[in-house]
């Protein structure tokens, strides 16, 4: 057992689960989507990205790429939320809610790919 691997796997899976938790619910109803969960998903995703730095293998490069995609999507979702709530005229309306949730849905897809890669990598290690 390797504690580095545990932490690595933990953050990648946690990024996916938090993202999923935020994503699930009616797409146009913002009350189904918790802002704390979005915050947690974003922070965990950022940490997962940093953990992937510096692995120069091909797999490591793909890991980093998927993670960067997830970060980007979540940051855009958060920015839309902040803008709609504070700067926008009408608060978080249906339009804004749909945009936020669908962006997080994209991040979810990237996180799923990340986890699939993690599983695939684990399968090749027969120890």
């Amino acid at each position: 057992m390797n504690s580095e691997k545990v932490i690595f796997g933990f953050f990648i899976v946690l990024a996916l689960t938090l993202n999923f938790g935020f994503f699930i619910g009616e797409i146009d109803d913002i009350t189904h989507h918790n802002v704390y969960e979005l915050f947690a998903a974003l922070v965990v995703s950022l940490i997962a990205t940093v953990l992937k730095f510096g692995d120069r293998t091909h797999l490591g490069a793909i890991f980093l790429a998927t993670s960067l995609v997830a970060d980007l999507q979540l940051i855009v979702a958060a920015v839309i939320w902040g803008y709609a709530e504070h700067a926008g005229a009408s608060g978080i309306n249906t339009e804004a809610a749909v945009a936020i949730v669908s962006f997080s849905g994209g991040a979810l897809l990237a996180n799923i790919i990340s986890v699939i890669l993690l599983v695939a990598e684990t399968m090749t290690v027969r120890r």
Binding site: Y36, R56, G82
Partner: protein
């Protein structure tokens, strides 16, 4: 870049993660702690406001308590946030600076920058391994004639010295072992712009490795290697088309030449001179008894050459037994008067201070000067830095090892005709050399004569190439002055090479043919005039016929048709 960039990020993993965590905790705290608006109602800070507040607090900008004055609970949390974020940033920036200053990382960065510069080179360059005395003289000479060089040396101080030099064509330097193929590959040994490799390190084995690497990675590359032992020389010569230079043999051979045929020596020095170097007057040492101090590798080579030239001498050596000195060798360093007297310095024609220690050499010659002020003094200067005092001492001949070898290599690199010329000239006698020297003195200024090659080809000398196909062009015609054709340019044709045959000092009546190669010698400005005639059809036409023509291609075609 990518490699270094990712290494940097990997090294900074912990500081970045701690920053993310510190920000996350701070923001979350503000969102959870309730505040009050101006009317006393409970007001929850949103993530947006919290992020805004933490951002300006962490960067120590501090806009104040926005949007409403904080409650005491919020202020307590603000205290925590301030110390937490400031420490977090200090730690992260400290870690970043530590990584950037790390010697290993710095070397990686330097290597990366070097590799990129080598890859982006789009001009021909020479790869010089070893930047000692010889290497530095050679690199400077190459830079002066506008040829780029890439230098590899294992001594960091020497590479720093190179970086600080102010050459027009700045050479690229890398700290690394030239014996490692990967280092040479990074230095561009496989680059199509690499014209040759010059291995000048002090270690024969490294030079052999450089030659081998060049032969295997880029077989067409020209390799010049320094080899001190005959075995290493034979080894390097055994594969590829390498050229080997033995520093002691070359140096001793040149010195012996200076003693027995000074004219030839002067000719050699001028022919291998670096452009714009001051011209040294020829020397005339006397025949007679000579004293040689120091019987190391150099002394042995020198004795061999001098014996061959029939010069009688006495040897002084501190440790005759260990150096296998011939019988009759006087034991001593030569720095004291008694050993020098014993060797007959008072009646000798000349003395050679040839030890590998500059201080000893100077001291020997100072003592000799006291004993016999009229003696011909030859000093061996080992280190370039000591040049100032050697110049000041006023010896008749100063032999600088680095100089002799660097000049020889430089001449080999410039045009192969120089080496052909010198080989052919070697078969002539000293009187011939003296005659040529006075001719060269007649055409040159106070700088060493400029040597250049004229090759009659379509690309390099289009005008001359066309004329040679149509009419008979003599060497005499080519040497006319483009401003007044009845006058001759002050230039000496040294060598004509045709189909592998060399013709020393070709006659003016010689008719030139396509693909001839000529080695010319003149002052630098004259070289430009001659290049003009070989490339410009109108100028050449005037030289050949005396008719002035002008006009471009269209006018010429019209004239030809009518």
């Amino acid at each position: 870049m990518p490699d270094i960039f990712y290494i940097l990020l990997r090294r900074l993993r912990t500081p970045i993660i701690s920053l993310i965590l510190i920000y996350a905790v701070s923001i979350l705290g503000f969102v959870l702690i309730p505040g009050q608006d101006n009317d006393g109602n409970v007001w929850h800070t949103s993530f947006f406001h919290a992020f805004y507040f933490v951002s300006y607090t962490a960067s120590t900008i501090g806009f104040g308590e926005i949007p409403y004055t904080f409650t005491d609970a919020q202020r307590m949390w603000t205290l925590v946030v301030i110390y937490l974020t400031v420490i977090g940033w200090l730690y992260s920036i400290g870690a970043l600076l530590a990584v950037l200053q790390d010697p290993a990382f710095k070397r990686l960065r330097a290597e990366y920058a070097f590799g990129r510069s080598v890859r982006s080179l789009r001009t021909p360059f020479y790869l010089v391994c070893g930047y000692g005395d010889t290497g530095s003289i050679l690199v400077k000479a190459l830079a002066d004639v506008g040829v780029k060089s890439v230098v590899v040396d294992c001594d960091e101080n020497r590479i720093n010295e190179l970086e600080l030099s102010d050459y027009l064509r700045r050479p690229l330097g890398l700290v690394g072992d030239a014996g490692v193929p990967a280092v040479l590959q990074m230095a561009g040994i496989t680059s199509p712009y690499c014209k040759g490799v010059i291995a000048l390190t002090d270690v024969d084995k490294t030079n052999l490795m450089v030659a081998l690497t060049a032969h295997l990675l880029n077989p067409d590359l020209r390799v010049l290697a320094r080899a001190e032992s005959p075995e290493a020389a034979a080894n390097i010569l055994s594969f590829g088309k390498n050229e080997v230079i033995n520093p002691f043999e070359t140096f001793a051979g040149r010195l012996a030449m200076a003693l027995h045929s000074p004219g030839m020596y002067t000719l050699y020095t001028w022919m291998t001179g670096i452009p714009h170097e001051p011209l040294h007057e020829p020397l005339f040492p006397e025949y007679g008894h000579w004293v040689l101090c120091g019987y190391g590798r150099f002394g042995k080579a020198l004795q061999h050459y001098l014996e061959h030239a029939g010069i009688d001498m006495h040897i002084i050596e501190p440790d005759p037994a260990a150096q296998n000195a011939p019988p009759g060798t006087i034991k001593g360093s030569g720095t004291d008067a008694s050993t020098l007297r014993q060797a007959g310095v008072e009646k000798a024609a000349g003395v050679i201070a040839g030890s590998s220690d500059d201080a000893n050499n100077l001291s020997i010659l100072m003592t000799v000067r006291e004993l016999n002020p009229d003696i011909f003094m030859v000093a061996r200067q080992n280190r370039q830095e000591n040049g100032i005092i050697f110049e000041k001492a006023g010896f008749q001949l100063i032999m600088k090892r680095g100089d002799v070898i660097a000049h020889k290599i430089f001449a080999l690199l410039r045009t192969p005709l120089i080496s052909d010329f010198l080989t052919t000239a070697r078969t002539q006698d000293n009187a011939w050399a003296n005659g040529l020297i006075s001719r060269i003195l007649g055409v040159s200024t106070d700088e060493v004569p400029y040597l250049w090659e004229i090759r009659i080809t379509r690309g390099r000398t289009p005008a001359l190439y066309k004329s040679c196909l149509k009419h008979a062009v003599s060497l005499f015609d080519l040497m006319r002055d483009p401003r007044e054709r009845d006058e001759q340019l002050p230039v000496i044709p040294l060598l004509l090479k045709r189909d592998g045959e060399t013709n020393l000092l070709p006659d003016g009546q010689q008719i030139l043919e396509v693909s001839d190669r000529l080695l010319m010698c003149a002052a630098y400005p004259v070289h430009r005039e001659m290049e003009w005639a070989t490339q410009n059809e109108n100028v050449l036409h005037y030289l050949l016929t005396g008719e002035e023509v002008s006009g471009g291609g269209l006018w010429k075609t019209l004239l030809q048709n009518y």
